[in-house]
Symmetry: C2
Subunit: 142 residues, 2 copies
């Protein structure tokens, strides 16, 4: 039995075809890849999987609730998803070519914690997006 099935069960989710397929797509994604529900839906169609778009949204929402995936709102409306990584990380997005790099910085996190403490907040989540232009190799083709 494949490992993704274990993941799903661990999350308390029945192992169904749509869930497995969606999980696999996310798993195969490279670093910095972020898919929208629509993206995943189209990939499923390409693989001749008969999964409805509504199901994609449902499954992604369930995955998010289970902590399997993280949802992001980059500039421009719709949500994108990625498999939750072991290490929480932030994103820097090129506004020209759309490339996303991920990074994690303990100093940054520590300072954030301190600020939250000073303001009397108990942090449950955090998102830092840096936007800019990636100097070299930016083909400017968003």
């Amino acid at each position: 039995m494949a490992l993704e099935n274990q993941e799903l069960r661990k999350a308390g989710l029945k192992v169904t075809l749509p869930r497995v397929k969606i999980y696999q797509i996310l798993e195969k994604a490279g670093e910095g890849d972020h898919f929208s529900a629509e993206d995943i839906y189209k990939l499923l169609l390409e693989h001749n999987e008969d999964v409805g778009l509504a199901t994609v949204y449902r499954v992604l929402t369930q995955f998010e609730a289970a902590g399997l995936v993280s949802r992001h709102h980059f500039e421009g409306g719709h949500s994108v998803f990625e498999l939750t990584q072991d290490e929480q990380h932030d994103h820097i997005v090129c506004v020209k070519c759309g490339k996303v790099r991920e990074f994690s910085d303990p100093a940054l996190k520590k300072r954030q914690d301190q600020i939250a403490k000073e303001l009397g907040f108990k942090i449950t989540d955090r998102t830092l997006y840096l936007y800019g232009e990636c100097a070299d190799g930016c083909k400017n083709t968003k």
Copy 2:
């Protein structure tokens, strides 16, 4: 002539009633207030201003392009807006009561700049949202 008119002209925008009214609403907002297009639309209706929702969106988008307002995507989909402050700042949001506090921390910014530099990015924008529970005084009424 009121000061908001100056602001609009400075931004290269004609002084029209919808723009003035929307600007005034944003101006009157307290620290930490963030309005959605819908919020502003409803406020306009309450003040018997005959402005269409589409116009609200258009004006806010223009204001954003002109740098007059900043758009934020807090958790939960839709955009909210606030008048751009002199000092760029970050947000910490209570997930229980929805309260938003703003803060600015030079150390944080400096570290972000450094990270961007290391990754070869020239930062044009940044958004940090911390989410958590505000300890005391949280009435839990989102």
